[in-house]
C-alpha cells in the first residue's frame, strides 16, 4: 500500500511558473523558471529570464549545463531562486512562448495551475 502511495503524483505543492516580473510575487514559495545560462561559477548561476531580465539561481548546478535550464526551487528574493532541481532544456528554446505561458498561468488561467 505504501508503495502505491509513493507512486501517485504529489500535487499538493505545485511550483508556480515565473519569469523575472512574476518572481517577486512568490517570494518564499516554490517556483519554476526557465533561464538562459549566462555565467556559472559552481555555486550559483547568473541567467537571463524569459522576459529578458537578470536572475540568480543559487544551489548546486549539475556539471554540464545546456544553454537553457529549468530550475525548480524556492523564490528567495526579487530576482533570485534557491534551486534544488535543475533540468537541462537544451540549446533551442522558444522563450517567447514560455514567457506567455508564465503570464497566462498567473493571470486569468491561474485556476488551472495552482
Amino acid at each position: 500500500m505504501d508503495i502505491i502511495a509513493e507512486l501517485a503524483m504529489d500535487t499538493s505543492n505545485p511550483a508556480v511558473f515565473v519569469n523575472a516580473e512574476l518572481l517577486g510575487r512568490y517570494v518564499g514559495r516554490k517556483v519554476r523558471a526557465v533561464i538562459q545560462v549566462i555565467r556559472n561559477d559552481g555555486t550559483a548561476v547568473i541567467g537571463k529570464s524569459t522576459d529578458e531580465k537578470q536572475m540568480i539561481v543559487k544551489g548546486l548546478p549539475p556539471s554540464q549545463l545546456t544553454t537553457f535550464v529549468e530550475v525548480i526551487g524556492i523564490a528567495d528574493g526579487q530576482n533570485s531562486i534557491s534551486a534544488d532541481k535543475w533540468t537541462n532544456f537544451g540549446d533551442n528554446f522558444d522563450t517567447f512562448t514560455y514567457n506567455k505561458l508564465c503570464q497566462l498561468a498567473n493571470g486569468e488561467y491561474q485556476h488551472l495551475f495552482l
Partner: protein, 646 residues
Amino acid sequence: MVKTVTPGAVSAMRSAPSPDSPADVPELVVQVLDLKSTGTRNRFMFTANDGKMKLKGILPSNVESEIHSGSIQNLGLIRILHYTLNDIPNKSDKYLVVNKCEAVSPALEMEIKSDAGDLDCGILLKSKQEDETNSEVTVEESGNLWKPKQEVEVGNQVKTGPGIHLKPKQEMVAKSAAQIVHEQHRNMAPAARLAMTRRVHPLVSLNPYQGSWTIKVRVTSKGSMRTYRNARGEGCVFNVELTDEDGTQIQATMFNEAARKFYDKLEIGKVYYISRGTLKVANKQFKTVQNDYEMTLNENSEVEEASNEASFVPETKFNFVPIDMLGPYVNGKELVDVIGVVQSVSPTMSIRRKSNNEIIPKRDITIADETKKIVVVSLWNELATTVGQELLDSADQSPIVAIKSLKVGDFQGVSLSSLGKSVVKVNPETPEAKKLRSWFDSEGKGSSMDSVGSGLIASSRNGSRSMYSDRVFLSHFTSNPSLGEDKPAFFSVRAYVSFIKPDQTMWYRACKTCKKKVTEAIGSGYWCEGCQKNDEGCSLRYIMVAKVSDPSGEAWVSAFNEEAEHIIGCPADELNQLKSQENEENPYQQKLKQAIWVPHLFRVSVAQHEYMSEKRQRITVKGVAPVDFAAESRYLLEEISKQKAS
C-alpha cells in the same frame, strides 16, 4: 447582413417543389417559428414564415449544433440553400424538407407579418392557437383577448393550460412590417430619435424590394475613379464603402454621370444622408464588404451632407493584433489591424506593377509596440503619398499610427501591406494609443527591439502558409457530414496517425514514367495504357487508408504516394521488401508501428463521394508537414487571445 425575410419565399418554394441542386435555388430567407425537436435526437421541425405565408417543415440533422449553440433560434432567420417539398398524404398541403440551410440572424423580437396585417393578425394568431391541442383556450382567447386592430402579440408562443388568459407581452399599435423591422434593431437613443424625424433606415434593413429609404452613413473608404472601355463604349466608375451607426457596411458604386456628380461630393470620413439608390445582390467575386447586397447610385440619387449632426458614427472599429502575434496570419486571408509608434519612414519609392506596367508609389514605415517587436508596413498609392508624407514630416516626434485592414506577407518573416480599403489614423484619440504613448515615453524609447520576423521559424512556403489557415479539429469533419458537397473544401489539422491496417491494399503497381496504374503484360513485364508501352519493371505507389486522431475525435483519411511516404517513412517499394521478409521480427509490422502516434500537420481536402448510392464523406491528405512546436505554440497563443476577445 440582411435581416429580413425574402417576400414570397414560401410561394416560390411551392412553385418549385424539387430544385435539382443548390444552384437552382433562389435567395430564400425565412423566419423560423415553432422550432421543436422531433422524437429523434437531432431532427428539428419548424414552421417557415416569409411574412405572408407559412409552411411546416423539418431541418437537416447537421444543424443540430447550430441550434444548440444558438445560431439558429426560434423567431430567427435562416437562408434555405436546398430543399424539397413533399406531399402530405391525405392532406392538400406540402411539407418542407430543408436539405441545406445557414443561419442568418438570431431571434427577432417577434413574428414577421406582412403589411396587409390588421386582419391577418387576428387570423394568424388564431391559427397559432389552433396548433395547441387545447381547444378551450382557442375559443376563450379569440373571444376575449384579441382585438386584431390594436393589439399584437409579441414574443414566443406561450404554452398554457386551459382557461388561462394569454396576456400580450407588450402592447403596441399595429405597425407596418417595414417599421417593425426598422425598430427591431435599435435602442432609441436621442440622436436616433432625431434621425427618425428624417426616417433614417439602418443599412441592415435595406433590400431591393423597398424603394424609398434614406440612410445616414459615413464614407469609410473611397476608391479612385477608373475609366473603362467595353462593347458599349467608354465609361467611368468609382465606388465607396459606407458605414452606418450600427457598424453595418455596404459598397456603393456610381457610373458615368453619377460618378462625375458624386465623386467630389463624397469625401472620406464625412457623413451623408443618401436616398434613392438601388440595391442588388452583391457580386461575390468583387465583394470587399460583408453585405449580401450592394448599392448603386444614379443621377437621380440624393446625397446630402449631414453637417450639423455631432459625432454620429462610431469611429472606425479597430481590432488590434499585437505585433508579436502576427506570425499565424502570414500569407493568410484574414486582414489585420495594428497600432504602433513610428520608428522610421522611408522616402517614396516607385514600383512598377507587373500586371499592367503601371507605376505606383510605395512607402515603408517601421512601427513598434509594447511587445517590443517592430514590423515594416508598406503603404501603397494614396496612403504612401498623403499619410506617408505626413508621417515623414512628423517622424521625429514618434507619432502613433493605427492602421486597419492590412494584408500579412512573409517578406523577412512578417511584413504588412496596405490595400485600397486600409484606413490609417495618425495619433488617434483612443485608449490604446494613450497606453502606447505612455509606454513609449517611459521605456520604449530607449529599448532595443527585434523585428518580429526574425523570431519566427521559417518553414517551407507551403508549410507556413497552409498549415495555419483554415485550421480545424477532426470533429469538424465528423459533425458536418455534408462538407465539401459542391466542391472540395480544404482544411489544415494537427493530428496523430493512430491506426494503419496492416492487411489493406496499400499500394498499386505504377508505370515508372507516368505513374498511372499498369497491368501485367502477357509474358513478362507490365503494360501501361497511358504510355502505350511495356516495361520490365514498375514502381509501387501508395494508396493508403489510415485513421487519425486528435483531442476532439478521430477520422479515416486516404493518402497517396508522397504523403503516405511521409507518414510511413519509406517508399512503397521498400515497405514491400520488408513485407516479403517473413522472419520473426516482422519488420513490416514494426515499420507500421513506428508510424503510429506520430503527430503531423495535415492539409486535407474533404469531398462527397457516392458509394453504393449513399453519399459518404471522403477526407484526402494533400500535404504533410512535421509539427513545429514553437510555431504551433504561437498559433495556440493567438487562438487563446482570440477566445478571450470574443
